[in-house]
Symmetry: C2
Subunit: 158 residues, 2 copies
DNA sequence: TATTGTTATACTCTATAACTATA
DNA sequence: TATAGTTATAGAGTATAACAATA
């Protein structure tokens, strides 16, 4: 009996307290989910990040909103948003229109092409969601979302 | 009756399906936790990211490991690790020693100063963990960690 | 004066490709 | 040949500061 000689494969590192830390486990789960999202879209021949998807949904559901409002909703600086919108606009998914009521702001909107793309993206996101939730029951998924919201509300915002 | 006139404050954007998507909720929770981590360390006058903390723990618990082994454990490319180690080494927290058995590899180790710093950092992380878990019972935290591990194992790794 | 969007700049994280030293 | 570490390079995400147009 006894195991076969066993080649010196990766000898499993000691991670100490890390696996008991919520922040650590959360970060690793998030990283795996991000990779799954990327794999789902890459396999489908589409290129999109979770952040871009969220942005497109926000613009679709709030047509005409300004860059400031969008940046606030995304929790990023308005200067950070500029190159992101540049890229999406270059791909023909959205447009910056002049606001008729306030010359300082842009009214953001999806193009017809962007609307169509978002429908497709949403389907891919649903497939992705099914996979990352595949080991969880519906009740567990609901519980998980609730607990994550509690975590978010308990964290201190700089 | 009825509410007072209400100034046109931020009119709460419509987020559509986003709040029902596990990936979206997970990403936002992670973002809030990251901000809390940063705030905790900044308030204490210390500078460290969650990734750097994890790295230091790994080196502390596996003294002498190589950069390749560490990169694998962190899930990043070996070239990505180089500037990260440069910075930590410049801060006097760790050293790259020549391996006596394999001239190609570096044996990583914390300095005495790094050991001391890690003790302090660990205390700050515990305070941070208390805060992000403040809205959860002990049982809920355990449940949450378990569910997150299930999510991670269900996600497809590129 | 204050706000919006932009630009310039800088830093970090990430990767790929090519190079050097060693095995 | 193959592996470990480094460098060069590039792209994305993040920020601050300063500027022009507009309110």
């Amino acid at each position: 009996m006894g195991r076969p000689p066993a080649k010196p494969t990766s000898p499993k590192l000691d991670r100490g307290v890390l696996p008991t830390l919520l922040g650590y486990v959360l970060r690793r789960a998030q990283s795996a989910v991000f990779a799954d999202f990327a794999a789902t879209f890459q396999t489908a021949g589409a290129a999109l990040t979770p952040g871009e998807f969220g942005l497109l949904v926000l613009v679709a559901r709030n047509t005409g909103l300004s860059q400031m409002a969008l940046a606030r909703a995304l929790g990023i600086d308005r200067s950070t948003l500029v190159p992101i919108l540049d890229r999406l606009q270059a791909r023909g998914l959205l447009v910056r229109r002049r606001s008729p009521t306030d010359g300082r702001t842009h009214a953001l909107a999806l193009t017809p092409s962007g609307d169509k793309a978002l429908v497709r993206f949403t389907g891919l996101v649903r497939a992705h969601e099914r996979r990352i939730g595949s080991r969880l029951s519906t009740a567990e998924t609901r519980t998980l979302i609730g607990l994550l919201e509690k975590v978010r509300s308990g964290a201190r915002s700089l």
